[in-house]
Symmetry: D2
Subunit: 100 residues, 4 copies
Amino acid sequence: MAIVDITVIPVGTATPSVSDYVAEIHTFLKAYNGDIKFQLTPMSTLIEGDIKELLEVVREIHELPFQKGIQRVCTNIRIDDRRDKENTMERKLQAVQDKL
Amino acid sequence: MAIVDITVIPVGTATPSVSDYVAEIHTFLKAYNGDIKFQLTPMSTLIEGDIKELLEVVREIHELPFQKGIQRVCTNIRIDDRRDKENTMERKLQAVQDKL
Amino acid sequence: MAIVDITVIPVGTATPSVSDYVAEIHTFLKAYNGDIKFQLTPMSTLIEGDIKELLEVVREIHELPFQKGIQRVCTNIRIDDRRDKENTMERKLQAVQDKL
Amino acid sequence: MAIVDITVIPVGTATPSVSDYVAEIHTFLKAYNGDIKFQLTPMSTLIEGDIKELLEVVREIHELPFQKGIQRVCTNIRIDDRRDKENTMERKLQAVQDKL
């Protein structure tokens, strides 16, 4: 199980606002028919699943601003992939909260 | 108002677990006496405040694993700094949720 | 044409050194039979090509430390994907150097 | 000795081009009077020096697009900070090239 933390920045937008593009990503994720979990944070979107499927989802998400006429996209991705333990978003939060 | 999204990865730990180091960051942030808000996510820590103060906090957080004997730290930071509007974590989430 | 900027951090290594893992990535890239260009920098590996092929290469690179017994990998990826112009590593450098 | 790898993305530019802003960073760095080394890559700017000085330089670089009228800046920073060995850009490249 891996977790991806992704931000997609459209470059060359008329205004500083990008919430339309982030909303588009979450509309896509809600309609996505696969084995993932996802969460919106103030700074990015977190997606949990199998690494192969996650990178497929990343590719589709990265394309979304181009479909709205944007000519340049800067996407930033963190991957946390752990194979000795079940690495879910819930378990990672719990592991830290248990130590506070 | 700016928001920082930070991960601090200690390199050369005996095991794959880093939750001790993340808990240390949040113990520091809880005791921190300044004008910031912070939030733990499954993939990073989000901190909201004035950019100058945020970079000071980043420097102190980056040092924490060294104080526990780690010899190498890879820190990853996203900054979202918006000057035309009040750019809080709450407002950013709301801006997207209003469009879903 | 897109460019990926990737760092692959093995978590849980005995020592702070990761150059073995970076060398492994470049051995893979040298043997890779596809339409990409790549470059080693002091902080990451840059790879130029079609976005679909790049994300395939990312997946394979991300797997390499697991094949050497590592149990956790934190991979960080920047993608710069521009569709209005030919976005090569060479052209991007030139565009900046022409303005200095 | 630490190394910072920084990209500064202005959000809300009229066109997809950002080379003016990158050139501005390198004009700043050339005129900067301090103990750092820096290098332009096709995807970012690498800066080597003491971590405290580096974060000061990061703060100044992050401000530059605002001085040109941009209202939102997304800055992405990787820090590699190693304390058991002299961690220069040159030494890191050599450590990998020796293993190829």
